[in-house]
Symmetry: C2
Subunit: 328 residues, 2 copies
């Protein structure tokens, strides 16, 4: 690292300069009430004058608390997490915490590494659709307070979207449009919610007499949409239900390039209602994720503002133009 700044002023410097003991200086700065007003004002003045900033590392060492929270996302480039992050930030700030973000880049190993390295510096973790396996998660949870989004584990507070109801809405919507066959474009194997989505979709489809097949897994990124679209098209179904919007938008792009009419020839459904879903071409029918609310609730549960629980949040279907009557 370049340019080393001059040695920063410490509490000792403040105390010496102010002619008081370090403990008095400490109290004046962070435990007002147990020090006379005059002394306090003087210490504060000296501190400001010499540009004192507490070393938060040292400050946190005795208690182990930093008033920082870590929020780990599986992929920072997925707009789905925007609202969740914002919600979490709002509640964290309200509770006097600073939120730092970590990006797992869809890698379980990176995710675990992040958690390991951040563990000492934060008071808890908000894990968004964590990709790490159960044993890694259990280990992390044994060392630190943890709350989960779109994943559950016994004894760990969590918020998950209602995959069953989402599947029901999708299936009813497609059924009403005359579809009798659909394909699920699966997400990563490491995704807990992917398994739930497929299971729910299969159940609900069976219940309405709709044939459902599963394709993939595909990476939940725009670029994977091409292969997913081709596979979906080859399967001969009239409706594709993608793991998430990122994949769905990628599918839409591919279909447009291949000259396949959407929804004329094939319908496409996504999940999350991310940035872009409303203005892609055609606008995407998708299941909205209550992400902002989830973010707020998660932080509330982590900081103890809300009771720990296993919450299931509803997600309304947003019907746009990527779904239409079944062909033929």
């Amino acid at each position: 690292m370049d340019h080393e700044p001059a040695r920063p002023a410490t509490l000792h410097d403040v105390a010496r300069e102010a002619g008081v003991a370090v403990s008095t200086a400490s109290r004046a700065l962070s435990n007002p009430g147990r020090v006379s007003a005059g002394t306090r004002a003087h210490v504060l003045d000296v501190a400001r004058r010499i540009g004192y900033r507490p070393n938060r590392l040292a400050q946190a060492l005795p208690s182990g608390r930093t008033r920082m929270l870590a929020l780990l996302v599986p992929d920072i480039t997925n707009p789905h997490h925007f609202a969740l992050i914002r919600g979490a930030e709002i509640q964290a700030a309200a509770a006097g915490y600073t939120l730092v973000l970590g990006d797992g880049q869809e890698s379980p190993a990176l995710e675990v590494g992040h958690a390991d390295r951040l563990g000492s510096f934060v008071d808890g973790f908000v894990l968004i659709s964590p990709r790490m396996d159960d044993s890694a998660l259990r280990e992390l949870r044994a060392r630190h307070p943890v709350v989960l989004f779109n994943r559950t584990m016994a004894g760990v507070p969590s918020v998950v979207v209602d995959a069953v109801d989402a599947a029901r809405q999708i299936v009813e919507h497609l059924h009403a449009l005359g579809h009798r066959r659909l394909a699920y474009l699966g997400g990563p194997r490491t995704s807990w919610i992917d398994a739930r989505r497929w299971q729910a979709l299969e159940d609900q489809a069976a219940r309405r007499g709709i044939a459902a097949l599963r394709l993939g897994p595909f990476e939940p990124v725009l670029e994977a949409g091409a292969a997913a679209a081709d596979a979906g098209l080859a399967s001969g179904v009239g409706a594709l239900v993608a793991f998430n919007d990122l994949l769905a938008i990628g599918v839409l792009q591919r279909l447009e390039r291949r000259g396949v009419a959407v929804p004329g020839r094939i319908s496409v459904v996504g999940a999350d209602d991310i940035f872009g879903a409303a203005f892609c071409h055609p606008p995407l029918t998708t299941v909205a994720s209550p992400a902002e609310r989830a973010g707020r609730l998660l932080v509330d549960m982590l900081t103890g503002v809300a009771d720990a629980a296993e919450l299931v949040l509803p997600c309304p279907l947003v019907a746009r133009e990527s779904t239409g009557p079944a062909p033929g």
Copy 2:
């Protein structure tokens, strides 16, 4: 915070259990070579057995270094930062650093607060288009190593996009299409690059005999696009150059809702080439930002892998369908 985990094992526990001094245990764990192979193996074994994890807070206290880097973005919901973050992550990992992200939410105060609270925990800052004013930036830079993106300050390493060349390309493109009047839809006053973009655009426009006026400032978000579109339309020009793609896409949405043909009646240009610019309607003509490369370079400069410098990166114009011949 809920469920307090059991007291974690310390180095003392390891040392006691292994029958060695803490200093020996410390060396075995983190300074191999200065300890016998047998002792080392034994200590490692004990550490693993009792589940020892070093307390990074305590580890960092003596040296003050944490091998963590902070990257602060003005708005985590702006897809522009995706590539930048990814580039930074790659280089940070390569140099053995962990990257944490902070979101300024377009607020100078929040940004400064983040920097203050994170300062003790990181070895340096990558500041993306920081919104804080010069004095706050100077103060931060006096305490910590800092590198800047799309902002400059004497003596601080930085990477900026070539706003002049970008403006030249935009103006030439519009000029070639027959446009003789354009309006700039300005970004936030706190944005350094906004001032540069307008100045460059005005210069280049004047050079080609194009009348340019400035509207705004507008928040660089989708939602601000409506007001920006209306203002642009009312100004009577045939081409709108938006501060960034977020605003430009918002403008496109509004124009579509108002039934204004793009580019038939009016052309729209953005900046950054974000996620969504390629698939919005119509696909957006924009100036691409070399974000990933910038992210890598910034971290390299911060970690000393690359020489500190003030780099200016070119940004190619990506002409899509939102620009066309001037009407009339």
